[in-house]
Symmetry: C2
Subunit: 126 residues, 2 copies
DNA sequence: CCCATTTTGACAACGATTCTCAGCAAAGCG
DNA sequence: CGCTTTGCTGAGAATCGTTGTCAAAATGGG
């Protein structure tokens, strides 16, 4: 994979915010900067980053994909439903539990999704 | 909400299978029966049922909404990504864990989503 | 440089979902 | 029953996120 101007721009954009954002948002963000990147390229690059484990993708309630640069170890998210503030969380017991459940029922090639939504302290006060 | 022929047909269709299916699938199923229902009405009815808590909706890895009539107690799903075969699972420890994590970080009004995806034994053989 | 290969991006295409709105059906009423 | 009012339906259009197309541009090795 070649280190192109566009890919660098997307990677840097991903480090410039701390919440989950849609591909369109990221495309807009780049458009206002010094290195505009085509929407198709934004999607391609994000998918590659997700594939490489450098970016996390999850889906909103209405099915839209949103992206965030995260640590590379497996984790889940505690997300404020008001402001999007995100905290990465780990749960070794949950990881074990999902594997056990799947194995018990003969399911292979197992993956799981787990997100916790709440209202953060700052938003509750507001 | 009026008990129309179409709504009854959708509700009955939901009791006739045990896996998660897309709105299109359910529309096709109804189309082969004695009471065809328009696709828009299928969507409207399913959304209402989800709202009423009578049907569970979740999203496949590529964002498509799939629906299933489930038990009324809180539970999660072990879903075959090939055929949709679904097993309801409960994890009291996970429920406790999510509450603890959220409380530790000062998040209130907590909800969570958790799904396990895999390939079931039947589909692995095929 | 030169060439083979990869990448880009404007645009078209796609698929799931929602919207539109004229026609239809279900209550309510006398 | 007729009549009215109101909610419901559905074919097709519109929407919207996402992916495919493909000629032009960029890249890197020789
Ligand atoms: Zn993450
Ligand atoms: Zn996990
Ligand atoms: Zn299966
Ligand atoms: Zn739960």
């Amino acid at each position: 994979m070649r280190p192109t101007r566009q890919r660098t721009a997307v990677v840097e954009a991903m480090t410039s915010f701390d919440d989950f954002r849609s591909a369109q948002d990221i495309h807009d963000l780049l458009g206002r900067g010094t290195t505009p990147v085509g929407l198709a390229t934004v999607y391609r690059t994000l998918n590659a980053l997700v594939e490489a484990g450098e970016v996390d993708m999850l889906r909103t309630e209405d099915g839209e994909a949103i992206y965030r640069r995260c640590s590379e170890t497996h984790h889940h998210h505690l997300v404020c439903r008001e402001c999007g503030a995100t905290i990465e969380v780990e749960g070794p017991a949950v990881e074990r539990w999902t594997r056990t459940i799947a194995a018990e029922h003969g399911y292979s090639d197992v993956a799981h999704t787990l997100e916790i939504f709440g209202t953060c302290a700052a938003c509750r006060r507001a």
